[in-house]
């Protein structure tokens, strides 16, 4: 298939691997963060890390939308789902995320009407089909999914659907990256930038990374050759003493982003003063809520939600995994008490979570083969 097969060519992968080997300085350790959970999965699915020299380390960033939702937020969703007459809708991944007293899936088994949807548009359709029920959509995700929620809210308004509302937990990518760069525990040499978020926001918002922190960032696609190529581009920047934002994924990502998506988001959302991230704590101006013009479609205003902050389970180290401080196998419960079937932490739940990627692709071992 066009745009897919050619980016998975094994011989070209080997050639790029050789190129990376020729670009690294022996004796220097390179630490690059891939921001997006989609990249983490591609890396382990295709064995991209096995094509890298031992002194090039990839650490995994906070770009997994399900993983960063704190427990208290799941509890709020469950409380909402249990309210009389409510049909609660959310993405499939979100159903299995543990709250302090179980997941949405368990709440569903206990009698709450919780339905998995593929898109917010599906949730709106359920609202139209059930005019005597209140349909709430649990909106999560970065700028990749926020436009979809925004368009659905506009559609609900245009179609005069009154029994639909949104519990908005959308987040933005720049504030957590800034928080990570401010953190002293992580010394990074560069970033593989998030490809799909950038289709919406563009590559420009990442200019602060080279400008303020002196690190290169290359926005990359999700096929194995995209990631390998992005790594050669970061290494070339380092070797040539350059430090800038480059766009490896320009077949999809325009440097300025998708203006129509940005406009619709600006109309429907506004920034929350602060939002809690799992493992990262409260980050200023990092979450979205519905704007005044759409406040009547805000589920948190229509219903009462507990809004209680709940500490993460002690055994779970998702926070350190999300910050790239530890690798999933360094967590005490990885692969033992915490598995995709019975997850303790969010990173083991989501298809974009780093722990799930390590577990599903058999990365239990610490050692990597050296090429």
């Amino acid at each position: 298939m066009k745009y897919v097969d050619e980016y998975r060519d094994a011989d070209l992968g080997q050639a790029l691997s050789g190129e990376i080997l020729s670009l690294v300085e022996p004796g220097r350790h390179y630490k690059f963060m891939e921001v997006c959970g989609g990249h983490t999965h591609s890396i382990y699915k295709y064995g991209v890390d096995d094509l890298l020299p031992a002194n090039v380390e990839l650490v995994h960033g906070p770009g997994c939308p399900v993983c960063v939702i704190p427990m208290g937020r799941v509890d709020d969703g469950i409380a909402l789902a249990h309210q009389e007459g409510v049909i609660f809708t959310c993405f499939g991944d979100m159903m299995r995320v543990p709250g302090s007293e179980g997941s949405l899936l368990e709440a569903n088994a206990a009698g709450a009407d919780i339905r998995m949807v593929y898109s917010p548009l599906d949730a709106l359709r359920i609202a139209k089909q059930n005019p005597d029920r209140e349909v709430v959509f649990f909106a999560i995700g970065f700028e990749t999914t926020a436009p979809s929620t925004a368009l659905t809210l506009k559609r609900a308004r245009a179609d005069g659907v009154r029994n639909f509302s949104v519990m908005c937990s959308h987040v933005t990518i720049v504030p957590p990256l800034r928080a990570l760069l401010e953190s002293p525990d992580l010394r990074l040499d560069g970033f593989v930038g998030p490809g799909h978020v950038s289709t919406v926001v563009g590559a420009r918002p990442f200019e602060f990374i080279p400008a303020d922190y002196g690190k290169p960032i290359v926005v990359a696609g999700f096929e194995p050759l995209d990631i390998l190529h992005a790594i050669t581009m970061i290494l070339r920047q380092l070797n040539e003493g350059r430090c800038e934002v480059e766009n490896q994924y320009s077949r999809v990502v325009p440097y300025e982003g998708n203006q129509r998506a940005l406009e619709v988001m600006a109309e429907v959302f506004e920034l929350r003063p602060h939002f809690e991230w799992r493992g990262l704590g409260f980050i200023s101006h990092s979450g979205l809520k519905l704007s005044e013009a759409y406040a009547d479609l805000d589920a948190e205003k229509r219903f009462s939600v507990p809004g209680v902050r709940v500490a993460d389970p002690k055994a779970c180290q998702c926070g350190e995994v999300l910050k790239g401080v530890i690798k999933p196998w360094e967590c005490k419960v990885f692969g033992t008490a915490c598995t995709p079937e019975r997850p303790i932490g969010t990173c083991m739940v989501s298809s974009e979570g780093a722990c799930a990627a390590y577990y599903n692709y058999g990365r239990f071992a610490r050692e990597r083969e050296v090429v």
Partner: protein
């Protein structure tokens, strides 16, 4: 996904994914689209149209390597 059929009036398109499954997709952010176009879909909304001709030295470098 690949656009199969466009419903311009409602701003929707029927699209087919890699596995052949078909989905209704919101197209307001990438219009105009026509059948056969490739679009990137997230949560039921097309957020980008794949563009082979978008000028760039970097991706064209990848394309050159992969012979796309």
């Amino acid at each position: 996904m690949t656009v199969v059929r466009v419903d311009e009036e409602r701003g929707l398109a029927l699209c087919e994914d890699e596995s052949g499954a078909r989905h209704t997709v919101e197209t307001a952010l990438v219009e105009p689209v026509s059948s056969g176009d490739r679009v990137l879909v997230h949560a039921g909304t097309a957020i980008a149209a794949l563009d082979d001709d978008r000028g760039s030295t970097t991706d064209s470098d990848t394309k050159l390597r992969v012979g796309a």
